[in-house]
């Protein structure tokens, strides 16, 4: 028995901020203090508060140390672990209250969260199957195999109301039922871990923090539909996740939880990994299956749906990582437990990756129906620098921007669709007044143009044309007619593209055009970028009354565009100015503004 457990976050965020060195120092100092028998150090998965990494949580007190450097470690060991005195200067500010240091679970960031998919992330050692089993791991699989028929398993999932967490929100139980109904000599269970949405990293965190849950859920799915083989298609860009999954698969095979006659029944199931190679379109289900088969990842027309003819032309189900992470708890706790959370049409919780202009960047899991305002202002800690909320982007390149007028919208699948965005995989990027919405639309279109697989013309050519029009507008050459053209083209691409990538590619344009038309008009009519982003539309101006005539700007200007005598107000020649912004950075009197 250890008297204290030191959990060190080993997620990608914290690892990038320096976890390996902190861990090394920790082991060294603990040895030095002869505490190896009393204190256990565990490297866990993501805690969620990536902005504050590297993170150390010490139990039983649940003291949360943030931004720990290797040189802080001796103090933590000698004070906290040896003498029982919390090192106040290193704990996360929010846990410091008048009554002393509180548990991390009392902070705004964690208080409103409800962790189901992430329940083990940051709690257990992801490289130990025993720790997973100690938290009821593989109990759901045992229960399903020994007590339920496949039909009953599917019924439980159907009744729970669980919908796909990867984008579209298709009812998971229904997917399984369809695949179950198609007879074949071989069926497949696949896991979509090709998390391509920029700004979304919840699947990676589940795989890094709790890899066994995915294996367990896939085995349950295999039992339910009658499949004996599973594939996990995972991005090669996630090396830590790939390593931990490989370890987990080997451990599960060793324990007989994958392989033949699992739990002494006649059920056989095994899982293989397939690494993606960097193609966004492979997040689309038919493209992903085509890629596993060893081809260019181009989507196939549906029907036939994967439940009829999927991988290698056999009935297949494909679910995303977060969806799978919900399955074992549903089997263990029952469908009523799960469906008691969330809204009428969206049950349970959803993990969001908060990013962009927000204080607490990181991962949060909230009940469906939580409002956007709660997520941004309370859990996310608001916007840095006291700036104003302008929009939140959800759904990545397939989604849209939610403006402040919908700040109080309860988040679920249908509400987001209604306002022209979508849930997607759960990336939530916050933007403030310094982000230009036309530029953001252009950014996403550049992404889709790059990632369009080229198979169908509406997407291949259409997105390129959309991008060109947006480029024209941000360069200051747009016309009102272009705005109409954008809308017509968007509609055409949406209606005629083969797969989800093309069909949803116009969303970033349509939603910004709808909610931020003023900003488009400002670009086209006034030739101004209100957010000050589109370089071609900016002009740098010196405020004569603030200028002291120090000549620093004119000496720094690379294009000799600034003239003026010493101690007299200077002037920028707009024809020569290349809008590099050096003068504004250099000016000590704040006399240069962007118009």
């Amino acid at each position: 028995m250890y008297r204290s457990h030191v959990l060190v976050c080993g997620g990608t965020g914290c690892t990038s901020s320096g976890t390996p060195k902190v861990l090394e120092a920790l082991n060294k100092e603990i040895k030095k203090a002869s505490l190896e028998k009393e204190v256990s150090v565990v490297q866990t998965g993501c805690h969620g508060l990536c902005a504050l990494g590297p993170i150390i949580v010490i139990y039983p007190e649940a003291t949360f140390y943030s931004m720990v450097k290797p040189e802080d470690v001796p103090e933590i060991v000698n004070e906290h672990l040896l003498k029982g005195r919390i090192v106040t200067r290193l704990v996360y500010d929010e846990t410091v209250t008048e009554e002393g240091i509180t548990s991390i679970n009392e902070t705004n960031f964690y208080k409103k969260q409800h962790r189901i998919a992430l329940r083990n992330c940051g709690v257990i050692n992801p490289e130990s199957i025993d720790e997973y089993i100690a938290t009821n791991g593989y109990e759901a699989l045992g229960l399903a195999l020994t007590k339920y028929t496949p039909e009953q398993v599917i019924q439980i999932i159907l009744d729970s109301g669980l919908r796909g967490r990867g984008g579209g929100g298709f009812p998971t139980g229904l997917k399984w039922k369809l695949a179950k109904g198609n007879d074949a000599d071989q069926k497949y269970v696949c896991c979509n871990a090709d998390e391509g949405d920029p700004g979304a990293f919840m699947d990676r965190s589940v795989l890094e923090g709790d890899p066994h849950v995915v294996l367990e859920a896939m085995a349950i799915a295999g039992y339910a539909i009658g499949a004996s083989m599973g594939y996990i298609y995972i991005r090669a860009e996630y090396p830590i996740a790939v390593d931990r999954l490989t370890i987990a698969i080997n451990q599960a095979r060793e324990y007989g939880l994958l392989g033949n006659n699992i739990f002494g029944t006649d059920f056989n199931f095994d899982i293989e990994l397939r690494l993606g190679a960097g193609a966004f379109v492979c997040g689309e289900e038919t493209a992903l299956l085509t890629s596993i088969e060893g081809n260019r990842g181009e989507p196939r027309p549906r029907p036939p749906f994967p439940a009829q003819k999927g991988l290698f032309q056999k009935p297949t189900i494909l679910n995303n990582v977060e969806t799978y992470a919900n399955i074992p708890p549903i089997i263990l706790n029952g469908s009523d437990w799960f469906s008691s959370m969330g809204t009428e049409k969206a049950k349970g919780t959803k993990v969001f990756a908060l990013g962009g202009k927000i204080n607490n960047t990181g991962l949060v899991e909230i009940p469906m129906g939580t409002t956007l305002r709660e997520v941004v202002e309370e859990i996310g800690g608001g916007i840095p620098g006291g700036k104003k909320f302008k929009a939140a982007q959800t759904g990545g390149p397939s989604g849209g921007c939610i403006p402040s007028s919908h700040y109080d919208i309860p988040i679920d699948y249908d509400n987001l669709l209604e306002i022209g965005s979508m849930m997607g995989s759960g990336g939530l990027i916050v933007m403030d007044e310094e982000n230009c919405m036309v530029d953001i639309a252009k950014f996403f279109l550049e992404f889709t143009v790059d990632e369009s697989c080229g198979k169908c013309t509406p997407c291949r050519v259409g997105t390129k044309r959309l991008y060109e029009i947006l480029e024209k507008i941000t360069a200051g050459n747009g016309t009102m007619e272009d705005l109409d053209k954008l809308e017509v083209l968007c509609k055409y691409i949406h209606e005629n593209s083969l797969c989800g990538l093309g069909q949803s590619a116009p969303n970033p344009v349509l939603s910004t055009l709808h909610f931020f038309k003023d900003e488009y008009i400002a670009h086209v009519v006034d030739r101004k970028c209100p957010a000050g982003v589109c370089k071609a539309l900016l002009s740098y101006v010196i405020e004569a009354d603030l200028c002291k005539g120090c000549t620093l700007c004119s000496r720094s200007c690379p294009s000799d565009a600034i003239s003026g005598k010493v101690k007299e107000a200077h002037v920028i020649d707009q024809n020569k100015c290349i809008k590099c912004g050096v003068c504004k950075d250099k000016c000590r009197f704040g006399a240069i503004s962007i118009r």
Binding site: G13, G199, E237, Y238, R274, G276, G297, G356, K357, M431
Partner: protein, 164 residues
Amino acid sequence: MGVKQSTVPFAGTNEQYSKLLKVIEDHKNEKGALMPIMQKAQEIYGYLPIEVQSIISNEMDIPLEKIYGIATFYSQFSLSPKGKYVVSICLGTACYVKGAGDILIKLKELLNISDGECTPDGKFSLDSCRCIGACGLAPVMMINDDVYGKITADDVEGILAKYK
């Protein structure tokens, strides 16, 4: 993420060749083995020039155009060699709204190459990459396995200097 034909002459060794043959032998009979084999081949050679693709094509009896089609479809496969130091700047949304675009411009300026290219001395290659999932540290730049988070365009020169 354009793919370019390499102008650098192919210089594969016998050792690399026998490693590749072993990989092909081990995986040949698995379903959908082509992609894993190509990924391993790229690990062995560092890139996938047409010569390596031909070896795979001959050994597996798969037409070269199919292999070339796959190699040019996925951004992970590179037909030209990478620099000793691979500089990648994340252009995911979270990084972009925090100024990753400016950092890319600075990198191009300092290294004097464009996106996807390698410096003539073979030292640095530059890639703008898709979200690496370290959004909490945005904007993020990577040099080989070293991650630099929360950087500004002004930090870039100092970071590159460490590798010169």
